[in-house]
Every structure is written in structure tokens, then in C-alpha cells.
Amino acid sequence: MQISRQKKMEMLRSLLLSRRFEEELTELCKIEHKIPGMMILCTGQEAVGAGVCAALQPEDVIVTNHRSHSHLLAKGADPNALMAEILGKRTGCNKGKSGTLHMAVPEVNALCTTTVVGGGPPIAVGIGFAQQYRQEERVTVCFIGDGAANEGSVHEALNLASVWALPVIFVCENNRYAGAQRYEEHTKAPNIADRAAGYAIPGVVVDGNDALAVYRSALDARARAVNGDGPTLIEYKTYRWRGHGEADCQLYQPKDEIAAWQAMCPIPKLRGDMLAQGVISEDELREMETRIDAVVKDAVRFAEKSPYPEPNEALEDVFAGS
């Protein structure tokens, strides 16, 4: 399948934006009290968000998890609003109620981020049901990690989506770690996607560092879903460069393992291919990087100069009209 220049440019931009955004967060985390709470990054895994979201239409929905930044940015969320939310500001996409871990951006159909591990799939089933109920040609993508695959809720959701042939794409980003546990310590089966057989749906294993391969597989799953053929479980093999959070010492993660996966970074892979094939020139690439750098710096400036919410704004939004 030929992938258009426009799509490739979109994916490269998305990869670079997510990486640059998280590099900035990594630095901000070093400043005491700058970022409240935890900071959980998807650095190194950006090809999944970039590739999957490039295969979606704007009306398609995503449900995401702890490592959401690349998903949200790839879906088109405003970097200013995300950055402000992460810093706890009133101008954040959720008025400072969410913080980094639960950002909902309904304006780009990122309807839910849940950081209850395994919480996303049952909700994605409900959103997919609504799409089917209204006979819309839309799909819902649910991003989970390899750790979440061991939650019972994920089984319930896969089973129900299969039984009702719901237009849901279950995306498992197998980054080889769940908290401090290596994949081999929490799962015996070599592939999460093999579980799809138990639900009589396709299970696909794809190189999660290859944005183009991710894009192709997501496009196939989307076609299947809108065709009424039901869900797909795709497992993207990738790697968690950072710890469970920025406070994580990663003592359990071998240094040479990290280095080996960093050598397979998704960005040079796509960038190299595009340069070699003349899809993008060195000049265009530099211009893209400069623009993205400005976008991220603007986001930080916007977030830093935004006010914190007043304390009693905490009472708002519990119920409609409250």
C-alpha cells in the first residue's frame, strides 16, 4: 500500500511534536514544585500514537491511558491546553482538575483518559456501542499497555466487543514493562495479541517503532470495524525508555536493553526513510523541527503565565451546572 506524502509528513510532525513536548516535560520535572503529581511519559513509543491516529478520521474516538501525550497530540489536542493542564493551570484543557494523568479533550474526540489500569476498554466498548447504535461510520480506539492486558476488565470488554461486533480497535502498546515488572515476569504468553483467538477476532503483532507499519495495521483494523466486522486486537512491540514515572530509578531495567531499544528509535527510522526517498528535504525537515520547537516553547510560556485556579473552583463540575 502506498502512503501519501501528506500522511508521512503528518506522522513525522506528530512524532517530533510528541518527543519535543516530552523532552520539555522531562526538564520541567527537574524543577521543584513545577509539575504537581506524577509525570508518566511515552518517550520512545511515539510511533504508536502517530501511526494509529494518522489512520483515524477526526470523528473517530480515542480512549487513552497513563502514557497519553503522543495519543492526544496526534489526535490534534492543543499543546497549550495540555501543557497548562499538566502545570495545574486554569487554562488547562480540564481547568486543572485532571493534571497530566486524566486529560479529556472532547473537542478532538479524545473522550477519555483513564489511569485505572484496564479502565479504558469497558468504556471504549460503550463508545463503540454508541457509534454502532447510531449507525455511524466511526470507530473507537482504546490504547492499553501490556500490564493492563492482565486486568479482568480487558477480558470482559474484548468479549463483549466481539459478541456485538463493535467498531473498537484495541491497541496494546507492549512496552515490555508494567510498573517495575518485566513482561516475562507478568505474562507467560509471548504475545498479548495471541489472546484475540479466544475472542474469535484478529490479533495482529506489529513493530511498534515503525510508524508506517503502525499506520497500515490501524487502517486495516479501521476498515474492518466500519465494515461491521467487529474489533481487532493489535499489539505493537515497543519499549518504555523512561520509568513508570519520572521519580522511578529504573534499577530493574538493564542499561544495555534501554540502549538497544533507543538505537531503534522510531524518529530516525521514519525521518531516514523520508529523506532517502526524497519525501522530505533537509531544509524542510529543519523548518519542521524549528516550528515544532516554537510550538512547544509557546505552550510552556502559555502555561507558565496562566493563572492557577482559585481554590473554590474545586467545587465546580461535580454535577452538571455545579
Binding site: 474516538v61 480512549v63 488547562g92 484543557c93 480540564n94 481547568k95 486543572g96 482538575k97 485532571s98 486524566h102 479529556a104 472532547p106 473537542e107 473522550l111 477519555c112 483513564t114 485505572v116 479502565g119 476498554p121 469497558p122 468504556i123 471504549a124 466498548v125 460503550g126 463508545i127 463503540g128 456501542f129 454508541a130 457509534q131 447504535y133 447510531r134 473507537t140 479482568g152 476488565s153 470482559e156 470488554a157 468479549n159 463483549l160 459478541v163 456485538w164 465546580e316 463540575d317 461535580v318 454535577f319 452538571a320 451546572g321
Partner: protein
């Protein structure tokens, strides 16, 4: 006026709301084809009336049922899902407690979750503690959920219709014994506001605050004790969250005495909350210490005499009333 039990009243509310709003759908274990076919049950006949597209029998998967409601509601539908027995709420509770209740808040008010979780509850059918366990205080303790527990067929119809139209998640707890207790039900399309208590009996000596099946117990006790010249006022809270503190406090200010009655176990039960609200707002009006009449702190036992011992009775209430009326 038509007269039937709460099961049929709920059925009528569901039918009317499904006719009114194409976004309303039902899902749960056996809501379409169940093992019982009694017309007195809440979802009887709705599959035939609305088809399998809108009345969805699910696998035995409580987390998925509740997640279905969360996702479908944020995507713009009006789900009404059923949890077969209250103890199974624990299996659905992540989706209800961590998601339905919190996601509006987390979104800064951008997202809405207009869903109803109907939960069948109440002791009295001898099934034991994994099928009988009143957990309304759990739900009430969770900000972001509204909690409704009707006592009469008419209230159930009006409150369920309000719950379905409500923009927020509503936990609607139905005592199964009330499915079979007939009462008058208006045929019209009427709504009972969520958050409004109802004084089911006016009285001057003692306020009994209660809800759901225990309202009937309180009214029977009131008739009995009236013969001894003690006049009970029975306040049916109907909605635990939001609580109608005004009606509650006005009643206690009038009578000066309070007994809170519920079937759920005592420790951490919602009677404690009612009592605290009264102490904060009307302590000076109390002529005697308040009393709680509740289930004992035990799982609900199965054997008939044991289960009867568990469920608060008219005699239990009368004894408590007599302790504070001198």
C-alpha cells in the same frame, strides 16, 4: 388509577422514556430474555416492544455492563443498565466509582455522563449474603453519583423518569420485595424531582427518617403506635444524594425527636450521615437522643428466621421510639 407493584411501575417508566427518547437503551444480564417471565418484573416485555437493538442482553460481565454505560453516555446516548443484585455492584464499582462519578469532574465539566445504573437490592428472598447486601452508603459516599431509593410504585415511576433525563450518573436502587407490593400509579407522564424527600405521614411526636422498603415498615409501625397515642412523622428521603436536608430538618424541628431507619448494616451506614446532618442543624431542637434502627453488622443470612432477625421490623422501630418518648 392503575394499581400495581414497583416492578411494573419501573417497566412503565422505561417504556415511556424509550418511546420519548431514541437515545435511551437498556442493557444487563437478562433484561431481555430472563429466566423469569413474570409481567411484574421491571424489564418484562420490553425486548418484544423495542427489539434487540435497544434491549441488550449482555454476557455475565458487570465491569463491561457498567463500562458500556459510561462510554455510551459520554458518546451521547442515555443508557439504563441493570446490575442484577446489589453485591455485584462491587464488580461494577470501578466503572461507577472511578469513572462514572469522576470523569465529568476530571474533564473540567466538558464531558457528561447521563447514565442510570439500576440495582436490584434488598433482603427478604432467602438468597443469602452474596445476593442480598444493601450498599447504598457506598454509592452515597462517592461524590459525583446521585443515589435514589424509591419506596412506592408511583415514586419509582416518577423518579426513574427523572433519573433517565438527568444529566449526571444516577444509581437507582430498587428493593426487589417492592416489585410485588401494589400501589396507585398515575398514568400520566410525570416526574418526581431527584433530591426531594416526601413526608409520607404527618405526625407531631417523633420523626422517622427512612427510605425504600423500610418506609412501609415505618408506616405500619406508625399505625400501631398511634393506638398508644404516639404520633410518628414518616419522612421518606427517596434520594440519598442529593439529600433534602430542608424537609428533614424542618420535621425534626417540629417533632424534636428522630429515629433513622434503614435495612443496611449499621456501621458506616447512611443513618450516621442523616444523624450528623440533624445534629449540625437542629441539635437545639432535640428533646431526646436520636436513635438508629438498622440491620445488625452481619452479612445477610439465608435461613428464614435468621433473615427475619436481620431485617428491621415494626417492633424494632417501636422499641426505639419508646426509648426516646417519655
Amino acid at each position: 388509577m392503575q394499581s400495581f407493584g414497583m416492578g411494573q411501575a419501573i417497566n412503565q417508566a422505561l417504556r415511556e422514556e424509550m418511546l420519548r427518547d431514541a437515545g435511551v437503551f437498556l442493557a444487563g444480564e437478562g433484561v431481555g430474555v430472563g429466566i423469569h417471565s413474570s409481567p411484574m418484573l421491571p424489564t418484562a416485555g420490553l425486548l418484544d416492544a423495542f427489539g434487540a437493538g435497544r434491549v441488550k442482553d449482555t454476557p455475565v460481565s458487570e465491569a463491561a455492563i457498567a463500562g458500556l454505560a459510561v462510554g455510551a453516555s459520554v458518546a451521547g446516548l442515555r443508557p439504563v443498565v441493570e446490575i442484577m443484585f446489589n453485591p455485584f455492584f462491587t464488580l461494577a464499582s470501578d466503572m461507577i466509582v472511578n469513572h462514572a462519578a469522576k470523569l465529568r469532574y476530571l474533564s473540567g465539566g466538558k464531558s457528561a455522563f447521563p447514565l442510570v445504573v439500576r440495582i436490584k437490592s434488598g433482603a427478604g428472598f432467602g438468597a443469602g449474603c452474596q445476593h442480598s447486601h444493601n450498599l447504598e452508603a457506598w454509592a452515597a459516599h462517592c461524590p459525583g453519583l446521585k443515589v435514589v431509593m424509591p419506596s412506592t410504585p408511583a415514586d419509582a415511576k416518577g423518579l426513574l423518569k427523572s433519573a433517565i433525563r438527568d444529566p449526571d450518573p444516577v444509581v437507582f436502587i430498587e428493593d426487589m420485595m417492592l416489585y410485588f407490593v401494589p400501589g396507585p400509579v398515575p398514568e400520566t407522564d410525570y416526574l418526581i424531582p431527584i433530591g426531594q424527600a416526601d413526608v409520607k405521614r404527618q405526625g407531631n411526636d417523633v420523626t422517622v427518617v427512612t427510605w425504600s422498603k423500610m418506609v412501609g415498615v415505618a408506616l405500619k409501625a406508625a399505625d400501631q403506635i398511634a393506638r398508644e397515642g404516639i404520633d410518628l412523622e414518616v419522612v421518606d428521603l427517596r434520594t440519598l444524594v442529593p439529600m433534602d436536608k430542608k424537609t428533614l430538618i424542618e420535621s425534626v424541628r417540629k417533632t424534636g425527636r428522630l429515629v433513622v431507619l434503614h435495612e443496611a448494616t449499621r456501621t458506616g451506614g447512611f443513618a450516621g450521615e442523616v444523624a450528623a446532618v440533624v445534629m449540625e442543624a437542629a441539635f437545639d431542637h432535640l428533646k431526646a437522643p436520636l436513635r438508629r434502627v438498622t440491620g445488625p453488622d452481619i452479612p445477610v443470612p439465608a435461613s428464614p428466621p435468621l433473615e427475619r432477625f436481620y431485617i428491621p421490623s415494626e417492633d424494632d422501630l417501636i422499641a426505639a421510639v419508646k426509648e426516646i418518648v417519655r
